[in-house]
């Protein structure tokens, strides 16, 4: 009886160890792909990015609670500005978004601040403010519905969309 009991225990332990090691392998792999896509706290991948034209990404990403443009963001926005200079008839709306880890009202303000950070940068590269409107969606329109650092980093964004 006692022997059978301990045998069963040993079997359980072996099974648990197998499952755990499988999990561990899976998480390290996942973390690796995430770290290559998030620098500091800002998303640097292109999984969710769409293009306004060839070589002109439509969005830039932000760190938690921040609206500071990174070097990569400024690069993207300069491409958008160049494209807007070439396509004078096109107006755009910059949509500002936040991740789900904040209060709803603060996130609305934060999204507006992010959209305007992008708009201001476009304006310093010669695009008239009349061609750029902004709207904040706060945390209301995530692009990635998940709850984790990767999803949150993809959702902290401003997206430039054609308005006409």
């Amino acid at each position: 009886m006692l022997l059978r009991y301990s045998l069963r225990n040993i079997l359980l332990i072996i099974m648990a160890a197998l499952i755990l090691s499988a999990c561990a392998a899976k998480t390290t792999k996942k973390i690796e792909t995430q770290t290559t896509q998030i620098t500091g706290d800002t998303y640097t991948g292109d999984e969710t990015v769409k293009y306004l034209a060839t070589g002109v990404p439509d969005r830039v990403f932000f760190a938690t609670n921040k609206s500071v443009l990174t070097t990569a963001s400024r690069d993207t926005l300069r491409k958008q500005a160049a494209w807007l200079r070439e396509n004078k008839s096109i107006n755009v709306t910059v949509e500002g978004h936040a991740d789900e880890r904040g209060t709803r009202e603060y996130n609305l303000a934060l999204g507006e601040r992010r959209a305007n950070a992008a708009k201001d940068y476009l304006m310093t590269y010669g695009i008239s403010g009349n061609r750029i409107s902004t709207i904040s969606y706060g945390k209301e329109r995530p692009v990635n519905s998940g709850s984790g650092p990767l999803a949150w980093s993809q959702n902290r964004r401003s997206v430039t969309v054609k308005a006409n």
């Binding site: 904040g102 009202e105 603060y106 609305l108 601040r113 519905s145 999803a151």
Partner: protein, 444 residues
């Protein structure tokens, strides 16, 4: 709607002012010993022709009272199976020893009849240990108003036994949610505080957020993305008439009424900066209250209208500040670890409820208005936006759950918790729900 709401006539049959009550409930402590109370089914007078309807109403009213008392956390309604006395006889004069046997300390009896399309409901509250009647009241109303009568009766009982105003004849306005997380459909919804009588006030064509009641009437302010212009709106829930609040060249959000119901205070975002403004609903005069390059939002007045609490990230992160209602004398009041948002001033004036974010968790808490005495009432993965019951004893707020990359597992639900930190309860809603706001007492 209006005629139904106000067709209540109160007849004071007998008010036992002189009675010395042995039972009383101390609601300032966590209620570890809820008061055992027996709610007898309301006796139905048999001479009426609409007897079937009455029988239903008689037992339904007692169920609603019982459910209200149970959910308050202060009462323990006893099983009706154990009741020994018939409702009609108990209503005339209970045999107190019998009720003592089943450990009841208080007893509610009543009777109901319908004549000429009028519903008459009578109830009595008895102190079993003192063998005395504490209270007796009768109401006459239109028959389909019986739910409200049940809530009003609960308020009377609550007040008689706790010494404080009740919060049962109230409603909750909230945002009803459905659909996938990245394309959520949101509608304004309103229901009784116990979850009954849900009505939808918008169709879901545009995103709507953060509805709040006017504390003095049936007006509501909320934010809508109508025509993709996020603005604060004013809605009369009795007529359905709505209008944009003010003429702002940008997003307005985070609205709330002043305590006298005459102003709306809100944030206005322009060129990347959000500040706090008020608009007088009569004169339409707009006033700027804060002027700071940081985000200032979630404003809430003190009940005397002299102060405003709000959150601002002027220190680098969201913290709670208090200022005079003209915007002067701004003082930061939160210095604890973590960041703080959605301050809401208690209707009693002595506390501010808030959302706190610390180490990846969200807390609902309360503190004194100078920031001292912080107490966290509940911890969760995500929860925010507390709203006070009109008597300042209970907070309602919403929670969201973690979800997978396709949004699976996501839900949004309403919860309530006592100021004491006890009695946390899910508020059942027909759909997912968020952004709850508690009304004032509909009848005072």
């Amino acid at each position: 709607m209006k005629n139904i709401l106000f067709l209540i006539f109160l007849f004071v049959v007998f008010f036992a002012k002189s009675t010395f009550a042995l039972i009383e409930i101390d609601i300032t402590r966590g209620n570890l010993n809820p008061l055992p109370i027996a709610v007898s089914p309301l006796h139905v007078e048999s001479k009426s022709s609409e007897i079937l309807q009455e029988i239903k109403v008689g037992s339904e009213i007692s169920k609603i009272i019982e459910n209200n008392l149970l959910r308050s956390g202060l009462f323990n309604p006893l099983e009706k199976d154990s009741f020994v006395q018939k409702p009609d006889i108990a209503h005339l004069k209970p045999r107190f020893e019998d009720w003592k046997l089943i450990k009841a300390q208080a007893l509610i009896t009543g009777k109901v009849n319908i004549t000429n399309d009028k519903l008459r409901i009578e109830f009595r509250l008895w102190d079993i240990l003192a063998a005395k009647e504490l209270m007796a009241l009768a109401f006459t109303t239109v028959p389909n108003n019986w739910r409200r009568v049940a809530h009003i009766i609960t308020d009377k009982i609550y007040k008689r036994l706790t010494g404080e105003e009740g919060y049962f004849d109230t409603r909750i306005i909230y945002v009803a949610e459905k659909g996938p997380k990245n394309q959520r459909i949101k509608r304004l919804a309103i229901m009784d505080q116990d979850g009954a009588n849900t009505k939808y006030l918008t169709l879901g064509n545009e995103l709507v957020l953060t509805p709040r009641f006017n504390p003095t009437n049936q007006m509501v302010t909320y934010m809508s993305y109508f025509r993709n212009l996020p603005r604060v709106y004013l809605l009369d829930i009795e007529t359905g008439v709505q209008e944009v609040v003010g003429d702002f060249a940008g997003m307005t959000f985070a609205p709330r009424f002043s305590p006298d119901g005459k102003k709306i205070i809100m944030s206005f975002a322009k060129d990347g900066n959000s500040d706090i403004f008020t608009m007088d609903l009569e004169t339409r005069v707009v006033e700027r209250i804060t002027e700071h390059p940081a985000i200032d939002t979630s404003p809430s007045y003190s009940p005397d209208g002299k102060y405003i609490c709000f959150n601002s990230d002027r220190s680098g992160y969201q913290q709670i500040y208090v200022m005079r209602s003209d915007g002067s004398d701004v003082k930061r009041i939160t210095f604890g670890q973590g960041i703080y948002g959605t301050p809401v001033w208690s209707p009693r004036g002595d506390l501010i409820a808030f959302t706190k974010m610390y180490q990846g968790k969200f807390y609902i808490g309360v503190m004194r208005t100078d920031g001292s005495g912080e107490r966290l009432l509940t911890e969760n993965y995500y929860q925010e936006a507390p709203s006070w019951s009109p008597n300042g004893r209970v907070l309602i707020f919403y929670r969201e759950t973690k979800s997978g990359s396709q949004g699976e597992g996501f839900s949004a639900t309403l919860w309530s918790i006592d100021l004491t930190g006890y009695n946390e309860r899910l508020i059942e809603t027909l759909t997912d729900a968020s952004d709850p706001s508690w009304s004032s007492l509909l009848s005072k």
